[in-house]
Symmetry: C2
Subunit: 115 residues, 2 copies
DNA sequence: CTTGACCCTGACATTAATGTCAGGGTTTAT
DNA sequence: ATAAACCCTGACATTAATGTCAGGGTCAAG
């Protein structure tokens, strides 16, 4: 299929599909006219990429394990676990930071409304 | 005092102090040689700016109420409360989003470690 | 009078994925 | 054969505060 169809099937913009290819997350073969041609498997692959992006995993990290998880179950890809754990730590840190700010804001709102 | 001293006293970089001035958070008078001259009050003012920035308030929002809070108590500045509440909502949303991602990551880590 | 420590402005870089535009080919249907 | 709907590459923009550099004045101490 061509890029427009892949975009329509996945809901991912053409711009992003080209970007994923540049980041080596997605491959295509070129037709004689230069158009990208995708296999039907590309659709599932794009959904997988979107799934990891939604977890906050960067394209660079995804590239490091995508080939493996597309062939095996996630659990067989040793690259995945450390990345998940690192991401989890980043998110935990971020949540703590936001909770601190939240408490601070709530205090100030309360003190304004009382004063 | 000159900008280097204000920077040393507050721990805020010279670059940032100039930026605050450009964003109309901070004022200075120019000496004949073009150097910025700050009053002693600037030190407290810079600390106040840093405090709001640490709450995630943007310079543009700070500019909208800084003059008021420097003269009055925060509670007298009606501009402050809606900004606090808006920021609180943004932070709440962000925390929820991060908690969702966190649960998702934890699930996947667990399933890898079990599998 | 020279050196080092200040100060100035203006500009570019930073992050990461995506939007958007320009300029230009290709295909398909009429 | 022409118009509409595709496709291509390359480039700039987006956010917000800060870092950093270039090129150039100013001041103070020796």
């Amino acid at each position: 299929m061509k890029i427009g169809e892949l975009s329509a099937r996945t809901g991912v913009s053409i711009r992003s599909l080209r970007y994923y290819e540049q980041q080596k997350l997605l491959t295509s073969v070129r037709q004689e006219n230069g158009y990208r041609e995708y296999t039907p498997l590309a659709e599932e692959q794009v959904r997988t990429i979107q799934f990891y992006l939604a977890l906050g995993i960067t394209t660079e990290q995804i590239a490091s394990f995508l080939n493996c998880v597309l062939k095996n179950k996630e659990a067989f890809c040793e690259e995945v676990l450390p990345i998940y754990k690192q991401k989890l730590k980043e998110i935990d840190d971020q949540i703590h930071l936001l909770n601190n700010i939240k408490s601070n804001l709530e205090d100030r709102i309360r003190s304004i409304q009382e004063g």
